[in-house]
């Protein structure tokens, strides 16, 4: 069941100039959340952040009853989120959206993230690993500084990286990484800028590997009521907030 909760910020950790890691908690147990799902956060009722802001579930720390969010500053809403202090509360609707398909035990999967798009892949990787899946992360960014949460990702699989300026990992885009030549996978999960996801999807399609992408369309309600967030699919317009955010590339006109 979807809930509206006032969660307390237990930590706001700055990861780099543009990104923070927020940890949210409450007295009682947090609702069950699945990899791929997102939350809708109310910033406040200020004039330039009228609607809620959708943010992916980055990780759920069951033991500490914490929901992690990875937030990149792009405009007034994310800017205010980045400034919030521990102890303050955030009004959050969760859990929203569908989830990634979970590859079966023993499968070999690649999780490809770009920029802050790596967010949903941490929780996904953690769950997959628990399920006995062999997980490899391929994370891309513009520079070493913008590669996020590497220590966390490496807990749940092998991590490869690319940077556009070559300051870490292989130089170039994720789709140019040598892993694509060296290894083959049963399933690819990807989230990041649209051009990156399209390139990954093309690569997956060429190699006949099943592939799911997580979309970030502009949303008003987040619960399937307004029909603002639609994406073109082979079966017509689908809501990214309820039919997604995760889609199989076969269903998209990608």
């Amino acid at each position: 069941m979807k809930q509206i909760l006032d969660l307390t910020v237990s930590e706001n950790q700055r990861l780099n100039e543009r990104t923070v890691l927020l940890k949210l908690t409450q007295q009682t147990a947090l609702p069950e959340m699945q990899p791929g799902q997102f939350v809708q956060i109310r910033i406040d009722n200020s004039g330039n952040t009228f609607l809620r802001r959708p943010i992916s579930v980055h990780y759920v720390d069951k033991e500490r009853n914490e929901l992690w969010l990875l937030v990149q500053t792009v405009g007034p809403g994310t800017h205010k989120l980045a400034q919030i202090h521990a102890g303050n509360t955030l009004n959050v609707i969760l859990p929203l959206g569908n989830t990634f398909s979970m590859a079966g035990k023993g499968k070999n999967v690649l999780l490809v993230g770009g920029g802050v798009g790596v967010a949903p892949l941490l929780y996904l990787g953690a769950k997959l690993q628990t399920n006995g899946v062999k997980t490899t992360f391929l994370l891309g960014a513009r520079s070493a500084q913008e590669l996020l949460q590497l220590a966390e990702f490496s807990k749940y699989g092998t991590v490869f990286t690319t940077t556009e300026d070559g300051s870490a990992g292989e130089k170039g885009f994720v789709t140019q990484h040598s892993i694509w030549e060296r290894e083959t996978f049963d399933f690819i999960y990807t989230c990041g800028p649209t051009p990156m996801m399209k390139a990954v999807a093309r690569q997956a399609a060429e190699k006949h590997i099943a592939c799911e992408v997580s979309l970030e369309n502009k949303m008003a309600c987040g619960i399937g009521a307004c029909l603002c967030c639609v994406t073109e699919t082979k079966a017509g317009h689908k809501c990214v907030c309820t039919d997604g955010p995760v889609f199989n590339i076969n269903d998209l006109n990608f």
């Binding site: 069941m1 979807k2 809930q3 509206i4 109310r42 009722n45 004039g47 330039n48 009228f50 609607l51 809620r52 609707i93 369309n217 502009k218 949303m219 008003a220 309600c221 987040g222 619960i223 399937g224 009521a225 307004c226 029909l227 603002c228 967030c229 639609v230 994406t231 073109e232 017509g236 317009h237």
Partner: protein, 302 residues
């Protein structure tokens, strides 16, 4: 304390409705609130034939508001009757259907089909949607247009007929009078204001359709003024909406002359807001020793 209000033959347990296109079919909100706490819901704009709506992007945020260009995406009235109606007909609140079209014949055909549904006590005729090329708003921006579509539907539809007016007009009272004269039981106002947003960096419009409908807190002053003007112009009950974000806003609309209100965009920000507005009106009535909500309606001291 009496909170019941009447709209045509319809009785609402309290004056709070949800606005079409902002509340889906109600089912999207049952996790957050009891639908039985509000007077009624008006479901998504329904057309004779299925519509895919406009391409993405369909939404842009604006200061204290938003633009939408959904363009009446819906599966058509037959799908509604077969697949949606059965799931919502037993809601413990009034369920009304918002009807849209591009020709008078379409409106009439849709209304005729809905007339057969036992548990749908009324329809809201959307003659004011700015997001579709043909019809839609065109009917709502001239008296002749409004008169012709309303009287045609009136002949075909025998339950409560609400006509939803466009704010994109010079004089909304004229259109309201035309709707009344053509047999409307009530007018609801306002639909969205036609607006536009641009990304200065990319030089591109933010909506696929360039222009779209403005709603949310920013439009409240305009909506309130129009309700006030129309309340002086017609004798049928008015349903007021546009930018209602909380109970105080709703009370302002009642004072300006609305018999009931609709909550639209606010549902996106707080999916339980419509029940909170209903509760807030009760609280206000208690605090001000008002026994009957009808004492509030049109109670502006001006």
């Amino acid at each position: 304390m009496k909170t019941e209000v009447n709209i045509g033959k319809l009785t609402l347990k309290n004056p709070v409705l949800t606005a079409s296109g902002t509340f889906g079919y109600g089912t999207e909100y049952t996790d957050f609130m009891n639908l039985s706490d509000i007077g009624g819901i008006i479901v998504k704009g329904t057309t004779l034939h299925p519509r895919e709506g406009n391409p993405y992007p369909r939404m842009a945020e604006t200061p204290s508001g938003m633009l939408n260009a959904v363009g009446l995406q819906n599966k058509g009235v037959d799908y509604f009757i077969e697949h949606i109606y059965p799931n919502i007909r037993h809601f413990d609140t009034q369920v009304l259907v918002n009807v849209s079209g591009s020709t008078i014949e379409d409106y009439v055909a849709t209304a005729e089909k809905l007339n057969e549904l036992e548990e749908i006590p009324g329809i809201e005729l959307n003659i004011s949607c700015p997001n579709v090329k043909q019809g839609g708003m065109a009917f709502g921006t001239s008296c002749v247009g409004a008169e012709s579509v309303v009287s045609a539907v009136r002949k075909a539809y025998h339950k409560t007929l609400i006509v939803k007016l466009s704010p994109n007009v010079t004089d909304i009272t004229e259109i309201a009078r035309a709707a009344e004269a053509a047999g409307a039981d009530s007018v609801s106002l306002i639909n969205t204001l036609l607006g536009m947003a641009i990304n200065a960096e990319t030089r591109k419009p933010l909506l696929s359709t360039i222009t779209g409908g403005l709603s949310g807190a920013c439009v409240k002053p305009i909506a309130l003024r129009m309700v006030w003007q129309v309340s002086k112009a017609v004798h049928i009950p008015i349903i007021g909406l546009g930018g209602i974000m909380n109970a105080t806003d709703a009370i302002e609309f009642l004072l300006a002359g609305a018999t009931a209100v609709q909550i639209g965009t606010a549902n996106f920000i707080d999916p339980a807001i419509s029940a909170k507005v209903a509760a807030g009106i009760n609280e206000y009535m208690r605090r001000h020793n008002i026994d009957d909500i009808n004492e509030l309606i049109g109670g502006l001291q001006a």
